[in-house]
């Protein structure tokens, strides 16, 4: 059990717990994208590069975009500020 792994795993739990506590959807989405990015790093540690690529493209990329577009469509984040990627 090395320190980097423990740090990453702790971060996963912290992300999950903080999303459960926050009230603002936007913050929740940002933390969720962080969660996905850490997950991609963990896939690399677990020797699964396929999953790392997929998680980075899908979990942090496309899912994040979908969340932001949703928030923008329903007017919770506005105008030009809703930048993607």
């Amino acid at each position: 059990m090395n320190l980097a792994v423990v740090f990453l795993l702790t971060f996963l739990i912290v992300c999950a717990a903080s999303v459960a506590l926050t009230k603002d959807p936007l913050k929740a989405i940002l933390i969720q994208m962080g969660f996905s990015t850490i997950m991609a790093a963990i896939w690399l540690i677990l020797e699964s590069p396929d999953l790392a690529i997929t998680e980075a493209a899908v979990g942090a990329g496309v899912t994040g975009i979908l969340f932001f577009v949703t928030l923008r469509r329903i007017g919770l984040i506005g105008g030009k500020a809703g930048k993607k990627k």
Binding site: M1, V5, V6, L9, L12, I13, A16, A17, V19, A20, P25, A28, I29, Q32, F35, S36, M39, I42, W43, L46, E47, S48, P49, D50, L51, T54, E55, V58, G59, V62, T63, L66, F67, T70, L71, R73, I74
Partner: protein, 124 residues
């Protein structure tokens, strides 16, 4: 309690995140938070699955040189299953978000209880 809790720290993390995600999907009232809870739930299940395939000291099963002995490579099955699972998870996320969008455009709220109330009022 069994003896392997401290060695199975990947699985332990995964089930803690699963519990949080499950509760968010089940009991949180905000639809966006529910969707994120669903994402956490699925991601942690995949972490659980993938950690089953890992064997310390071995590398990912991309066979570059001619040594095709199973002594060198980790188990490819969980990775394949997780790939399938991630696709399912992103599809469901898109569907849930589309539902959220439609509901918000109709009722101007993200709270599910409020939507139920408004939709019942609309019907009668």
């Amino acid at each position: 309690m069994g003896s392997n809790l401290m060695t199975n720290y990947f699985e332990a993390t995964a089930v803690i995140c699963f519990g949080i995600g499950f509760t968010m999907l089940f009991l949180n009232k905000n639809l966006i938070k529910k969707v994120i809870g669903f994402n956490f739930m699925d991601s942690s299940i995949f972490l659980f699955l993938a950690s089953n395939g890992y064997i310390s000291g071995r590398i990912s099963p991309i066979i570059t040189n001619s040594s095709v002995s199973s002594e060198n490579y980790i188990n490819p099955i969980p990775a394949g299953l997780v790939l399938t699972g991630i696709v399912v998870s992103v599809s469901v996320t898109a569907f849930l978000l589309a539902l959220t969008t439609r509901l918000y455009l109709r009722y101007h709220t993200l709270e599910l209880d409020e939507m139920i109330r408004l939709s019942n009022a609309e019907e009668t």
